[in-house]
Amino acid sequence: MSDHRDPEDLVPGKEPDLGMEIEEFELALEKQRVHGRTALWADVWYRLRHNKMAMVGLVIIVVLVLVAIFAPWLAPQDPLYSPLYDQNATPQEKAESVKQPPSRRHWLGTDDLGRDILSRLIYGSRVSVEVGIVAVLISLVIGLFFGALAGYFGGWGDSVIMRSADIFFAFPTVLGAIAIMTVLGPGLINVFIAIGVLGWATIARIFRGSILSVKENEYVEAARAMGAGNARIIWKHIMPNSIQPIIVYATMGVGGAILAEAWLAFLGLGQQLPTPSWGNMLAQYLPFYTTDPWMMFIPGTAIVVSVLAFILLGDGLRDALDPRLKGSV
C-alpha cells in the first residue's frame, strides 16, 4: 500500500543528474528535503496528534511549563511565609498552623513548618522545569559534539571517545552526581551541571550510532563526491536525518533529570532550602509517611505525573519519527 506522502518517491524516479554543479544539486536535494522535511514534520505532527497517550503527555508538559512561568501569580500565598515566625501571629494560631490537613484556606494543607503546601508545589515546578531543560541542554551540547566527532571521523578518536563513554556507563550515575555535587558544593546550578555532565555518554553513543547508519547512505557519498566539506556534510545532510533518536532521548531525558533532582534531594544535595522543589519536598515529607501519609503523595504525584508526561511524549515521538512504522498508527 504505497502512501504517496512517503518523501522518497515524491520526485518519482528522477535520479539527481551528477553533471550538475554542487549548489544546483543541493538545491534539488534541498527542494526535495524541504518539501520532504516540512512534509516529514507535518507527517510527524499528524501521527503524533493521533497518538492519544502522547497528547496527554504534551498537555501535561504545557501545563507544567505555564505553571512554572506564572508561579508568582498562581500561588495563593508566599511559599516561605508561616505564622510560626510571624511576630503578630497569636501563639494559638502558631500552634495550629503545623501539618494542617487540606482545608479551605490551605487547599493542600500546610507542611511541618506551617507553610502552604500548594504554593510550595507551584513554585517547586520552576525547579523541576529548570533542572529538566538545562541539564538536558548540557548533555546535548557535550553528547552531540563528541558523538559527531566519534561517529563521523571514526579512527582512534572514535575509540577514545567510546571508551570514555564506557567509563561513564560503568560508573553508577548516582555516585557520579554525588561526587560532582560534593566537589561543586550544594546549589541548583551545580545540580544542573552534575546531571547534565553525566548524561552525555548516552547521547554521544546514540548520535554516533545514527551517524554511522546515515553516513553509509548514497546521498552523503554523492555530496562528498561533489566536494562538499565535512562540516557542511555534517550540518546539512547528516544532522537532520540522525536527529530523530536524539529528540526522543532528549524528551525522556528531561523526565530523567527531574527524577535525578528528586534522588539528589533525598541525600540533601538538591535544591537548597527554604526554596521549595518537588525533590526536597518529597524528601522532607517522606518521614511523616505513617503519621501524615497524605503529605508525601503531593510532591510524589507531581514528580510521577511530570516524568510520565515526558515518557509518553517521548514514546509518541519515537513512533511518529520512525519511518518504518508508516501507516500503522
Partner: protein
C-alpha cells in the same frame, strides 16, 4: 480500543486513591494491655543502634553509638547514677583527694574479674590509661586525660609513661594532676578511663582490640557483624548487680526512620523516635515514650574572628533577642525540647535559671540592630548559616531564618555532610553555624571550659571566643576545692559569656526513646544511655 485505554488510566488512579484511604485506616496498631510486675530471668533484648560504632576500643569511644555499646562491656573506677547523674563508686571502693585537688587516691574493690577470668588490679588501670595517651593508639578522646601529670609528654612522644598514674599496690591507684582540678574525679566515669587486659591487646594487636573487646562490664562481647549487629552475653560473675537478660543484640541501622518502623513492626525492643513524630509517639505509647531532659545544649555559633560578628556585640545580641525559642520548642519540636535559659542545662549542679536575659522581643532586637549600625538589616553582608544534613536541622534553620527575616535580616542556609561540616567550621570557612554539645560528665566545667576557654579555640571552642576575664574565672573555678565557691565562679563566667553572646543558645535536648511493653526496668539517663543490666522481660 481508544476508550479502553482512558478507562484504564482512570482505574490506575482510582487504585492509587484507594491505597491512600487504606493508609489512613491502617494507621496506628492496636493498643497493648499493660503487663503486671513479675520479673522474668533471661531473654535477649533487641537494642536499636542508629549507625555502626566506629570502634569498641575504649581509646576510641567518642560517638554516642560507640558509648552506648561500650558502657555495657566496660566499667571504670566511678559511674554516674542513672537517675540523678551523681557520682557513684563502680570498680573503685572509695577515693580521697588531697587538699589542693592535685592528688586522687582510689581504693579498688577486690575480686573484680575481666571477662577472660583474670582479676583486674591497679596495674591494669596504669597500662590502659598509658595506652590511651600513647600516640601510636592515635586516640581521638585522650584529651579527657589532659589534666593528668605527664599527659603532654606522653602524647608528644617525649615520654613513655604517664608520670601522674601510679599503682601503689594491687588495689590502690594514685593519680596526680598537673594543676589543681577538683572535678577531675567526674572524668573517671567516662569509658575512656576503663581498664582493659594487656594480654588480650597483645594477643590481637592494639588496632584489632576493637574487634575483640574485653572489659569488666555487666555484658561479655560475643560477636560483631559490621553494619548488621553486635551481640553481647550476660557476664555471670559481674561484681555489681547481675543483669536479668541472657544477652543483648544491638541491631545497626543507617536510618532513624527505618529503625522506628522496625520497632513498630516488632523487630526491635526499643528505638529512637525521629524528629517530627514526637506527638504521635506520645499519644500512641504514653509514658513508654521517654522524653526526659538531657544534659545537652543545641546552639547557633558566631565565628568571633570574622566580620560582621567580631566587631559588633549588639548584632550578636540582636540575633539572640530575635529568636522565638518557646514556639520553636512547643510547635516545631512538638514540645519535646526545653527553651534554653543559658549554656548549662538543668540537672547539672550549679544550673542557673536566669543566666541570660534574652527573650523573644523583636522590638528590642530591631533597636539593637540600629545600634549595631544595621537598621532593619540594611548594610549587612551576605550571611550563610551552615548545618549538617540528615537529622532535621534544616527545619529548625528555616524557622530561625523566618524569625530573622521578620526583622529584615536575610541569610541563606546550606547543608553539608557531618565530616565536611566540622572541617569547614574549624577552617573558619563557615562562620555562622549550628552545633550541639552533650555532657561528658555532669559538671558546669564540661560546658564552659571546652566551648569558651580561649585555649580550646578551633578544638571545641568553634566560635574562636577569647576573653581573658572568662579564662581567668574558669581556671580559678577549676582549682577551687569548695564546691559552693566553685559553682559561684562558674556561674559568673556563664553570665559574662552570655552577655558577650558568642553563641545563640536555643534549646536543651530531651531524650526521645520508646521501649516495648514486653519489657520492664527500662529507663534513659540524662546522657541518653540505657543501663541494660536493670532491664528485664515481663512474664
Amino acid at each position: 480500543m481508544r476508550r479502553g485505554k482512558t478507562a484504564l488510566i482512570l482505574a490506575v488512579f482510582l487504585a492509587l486513591a484507594v491505597g491512600l484511604a487504606m493508609i489512613y485506616a491502617g494507621c496506628g496498631e492496636k493498643k497493648e494491655e499493660e503487663g503486671k510486675g513479675g520479673k522474668k530471668e533471661g531473654g535477649v533484648f533487641k537494642y536499636c543502634l542508629v549507625s555502626d560504632p566506629v570502634s569498641l576500643d575504649p581509646a576510641q569511644l567518642q560517638e554516642s553509638q560507640g558509648i552506648e555499646v561500650g558502657k555495657q562491656i566496660f566499667d571504670g573506677l566511678m559511674d554516674n547514677d542513672p537517675k540523678t547523674m551523681e557520682l557513684v563508686p563502680a570498680m573503685a571502693e572509695s577515693y580521697e583527694v588531697n587538699d589542693d585537688a592535685t592528688v586522687f587516691t582510689f581504693k579498688l574493690k577486690k575480686g573484680v574479674k575481666f571477662h577472660n577470668g583474670r582479676e583486674c588490679t591497679a596495674e591494669d588501670f596504669v597500662y590502659s590509661w598509658n595506652r590511651v595517651c600513647n600516640p601510636d593508639t592515635a586516640s581521638e578522646v585522650s584529651y579527657h586525660m589532659s589534666p593528668i601529670k605527664g599527659y603532654e609528654e606522653v602524647t608528644g612522644g617525649t615520654a613513655k609513661t604517664l608520670e601522674g598514674v601510679k599503682a601503689i599496690d594491687d588495689y590502690t591507684l594514685e593519680v596526680t594532676l598537673s594543676y589543681p582540678y577538683a572535678d577531675f574525679v567526674y572524668h573517671t566515669a567516662h569509658p575512656v578511663f576503663s581498664p582493659i587486659p594487656k594480654e588480650v591487646v597483645e594477643e590481637y594487636g592494639s588496632e584489632n582490640f576493637s574487634e575483640h573487646p574485653v572489659g569488666t562490664g555487666p555484658f561479655v562481647f560475643k560477636e560483631w557483624v559490621h553494619e548488621q549487629q553486635i551481640t553481647v552475653d550476660k557476664n555471670p560473675d559481674y561484681y555489681g548487680d547481675k543483669p536479668y537478660l541472657d544477652g543483648v543484640v544491638f541491631k545497626v541501622y543507617q536510618d532513624e526512620e527505618t529503625a522506628y518502623q522496625d520497632f513498630k513492626a516488632g523487630a526491635l525492643d526499643d528505638a529512637q523516635i525521629p524528629q517530627g513524630q514526637f506527638k504521635a509517639a506520645e499519644n500512641e505509647y504514653g509514658e513508654r515514650a521517654i522524653f526526659k531532659a538531657m544534659l545537652g545544649i543545641y546552639y547557633y555559633g558566631f565565628n568571633m574572628n570574622t566580620a560582621p560578628w567580631k566587631d559588633s556585640k549588639e548584632l550578636r545580641q540582636a540575633f539572640n533577642w530575635a529568636v522565638d525559642r518557646q514556639t520553636l520548642c512547643d510547635v516545631v519540636m512538638e514540645g519535646q525540647r526545653i527553651p534554653a535559659t543559658g549554656i548549662v542545662p538543668p540537672g547539672i549542679p550549679g544550673y542557673q535559671a536566669n543566666a541570660m536575659e534574652y527573650k523573644y522581643d523583636p522590638d528590642k532586637a530591631k533597636e539593637l540592630l540600629e545600634k549595631a549600625g544595621f537598621p532593619g538589616g540594611q548594610g549587612l553582608p551576605q550571611l550563610t548559616l551552615g548545618y549538617n544534613t540528615g537529622v532535621g536541622h534544616d527545619t529548625i534553620a528555616q524557622f530561625i531564618q523566618g524569625n530573622l527575616k521578620d526583622l529584615g535580616v536575610n541569610f541563606n542556609i546550606e547543608g553539608y555532610e557531618w565530616g565536611t561540616y566540622l572541617d569547614l567550621i574549624q577552617g573558619e570557612q563557615v562562620t555562622f553555624f549550628r552545633l550541639g554539645w552533650l555532657a561528658d560528665y555532669p559538671i558546669m566545667d564540661n560546658f564552659l571550659y571546652p566551648l569558651f576557654y580561649s585555649g580550646n579555640a578551633g578544638v571545641d571552642n568553634m566560635s574562636q571566643y577569647k576573653n581573658e576575664e572568662v579564662d581567668k574565672l574558669l581556671l580559678e573555678a577549676r582549682s577551687t576545692i569548695d564546691e559552693k565557691e566553685r559553682i559561684e565562679l562558674y556561674r559568673e563566667a556563664e553570665r559574662k559569656i552570655l552577655e558577650d553572646a558568642p553563641i545563640m543558645p536555643l534549646m536543651f535536648y530531651k531524650t526521645s526513646r520508646v521501649y516495648s511493653d514486653k519489657v520492664g526496668g527500662y529507663m534513659r539517663t540524662p546522657d541518653d544511655l540505657t543501663p541494660l543490666e536493670m532491664v528485664y522481660f515481663k512474664e
